[in-house]
Symmetry: C2
Subunit: 386 residues, 2 copies
Amino acid sequence: MFNFDFYNPTRIVFGKNRLNELVSFVPKDKNVLVLYGGGSVKKYGTLQKVTDVLSGYKVFEFGGIEPNPRFETLMKAVEIVKKENIGFLLAVGGGSVMDGTKFIALASKYQGNKPDEILYQGYKSAGISEALPFGTVVTLPATGSEMNSGGVISYGNGKYVVFSPLTFPQFSFLDPSLTFTLPPAQVANGVVDTYVHVLEQYLTYPVEARFQDRTAEGILQTLIEIGRKTIDNPADYDLRANLVWNATMALNGLIGSGVPSDWTTHMIGHELTAFFGVDHAVSLAIITPSLLNIRKDKKREKLIQYAERVWKIDEKDDDKKIELAINKTREFFESLGIKTRLSDYGIKEPDFDKVIKGLETKGMTKLSEHKDVTLEISRKILENAL
Amino acid sequence: MFNFDFYNPTRIVFGKNRLNELVSFVPKDKNVLVLYGGGSVKKYGTLQKVTDVLSGYKVFEFGGIEPNPRFETLMKAVEIVKKENIGFLLAVGGGSVMDGTKFIALASKYQGNKPDEILYQGYKSAGISEALPFGTVVTLPATGSEMNSGGVISYGNGKYVVFSPLTFPQFSFLDPSLTFTLPPAQVANGVVDTYVHVLEQYLTYPVEARFQDRTAEGILQTLIEIGRKTIDNPADYDLRANLVWNATMALNGLIGSGVPSDWTTHMIGHELTAFFGVDHAVSLAIITPSLLNIRKDKKREKLIQYAERVWKIDEKDDDKKIELAINKTREFFESLGIKTRLSDYGIKEPDFDKVIKGLETKGMTKLSEHKDVTLEISRKILENAL
């Protein structure tokens, strides 16, 4: 096991009908900015519930944070923060709203006049030493943003990862019943996003980290069991509660502590989303099986473990075992209604140059747990995904 | 899944040779009291290493915190805190030192003149609203005290559980190599203690909490794999690292969130320790198999799941499956060198009255996840353990 630090101070408030407890955690003496995305939190009443609970507070609202939240949009919220003397942010939504809120929390404390340097250079180099405090009310289980300190922000044709110990949510309300109204495709995306978060931290090479391995395998097994079912039975509380909690646990630092991690799939996937507009989770479903095909020698031992423990593949030949596990992974994504080939989305070989150039521009020339995925290998992964 | 809150702000610093990083976390402007137990942290140099790292600090020492730390001992440390204007506590040791330090952190802020009311009534009723901050350097993997806010304090013939959100360690240093010098019996105790912590939160009744179940099962499987090996190979870093991290994860709130828990074994076990001086873990190894025998109808579904997933018992008849799983649990404890019968420790039927009276005095007349373990049933469990 590698040396590691683990620190996660986010308070989780999990369960049905608990939004009235927001008053225990949102500070009463601060102006509060409630942030949200498209219309669904309005349409299904979650926003109204939140503002009702906060009726004694001075509340401002900022809507329209888009999927893959954009720098320009978020900077408009920063203007409101400054103008209205906002002291607390409350994100109501999914990963994009939460990620965007983290950026706003940092950018609100930025003193310079080139705020995009927060994306390029990170909060520290941008001179930021504190962030606005914030909490979240989660309406979409997928990204794990509710219990970590990272976010992904879009700017130009790029997606930028913003990480900071200053941007853990103070609290996150996870009420599975708030997610019942999600369209099936978004739930499917949430299942795949969670699954691939686990794979990025698990399918690398063995380092004798048994807790991390088994916990990762447990999340994967659960997603396989409940993934299709919770899409088909959106109002089944227990199924959805398991998706919500596993999604949070998949990316809160727990299974990634003391082990190597890959993240190649995410980095290539970000480029696919930036250039061709495919959903984040869809990009992961496309890249994952191909990456495993191309990288199966480097991931051999863990792929065998994955085949045996997660898929219970009873097969003597290790190569076959690995092949079956990769196939089953693809079939699982497809069973959720997500196509896993670039050609399914009209992306063709001539488009690859853009993706490779995008990776190059961001310095992503040595990806993976071994830092050996060159642009050439990334191209092979794309070719395999056609 | 039940509704739940999860909050755990303890920072974990895990790995080899990291004690020099203590200076990043121990406040430089406070008088520091370093607390420890018997002589082993002196004998094996851990205390020296810690005080060397803190050479620029104003450090005081308090040794002699005994196993099952006693109220009277801890109150002597409170005197030092007050006399020397201590602002930070650093526990160097195992569960007893950490538990004791939590009590000292609370009692140092107690304003009244009957400090034993903290034990009887809890910190809140005793008027305590803050605690001294503290960190830990862990030398014995077992209790999980390094990443939770509870402790068990002995007073008179009783053991009292002290819980408070004020007493999470600010940080815990977990260096597996600091535990290499532990005697085999203490390592065995640590394995059993961890195992039974998991069982108390897992072997109850199903509530569709798949993450919690699978994570619990993962810890149990790992303990079965590594328990005997890490006793036999004390300086094998990876084996010990897995014991240390699983011990922490077994009782930091993670696997207990959103599920029922039992704790009957601990409550009866505490009485055995108080009256007959058996080690805490030994008391758990004695009571667990008997409790499972007596309560197997109430725990039927989870016992079957335990048999299948943890012990991989391939057996059609459910009753046999359960019996085999209970036997295997007992055999596992015995394989670590821990006898599992009361008679092995000279405890006989006439002694039971004391235990039952002890439970009664503390109001422990309705134990377990169903609150239906009466004194009569507790006696049956003892009888089964003879």
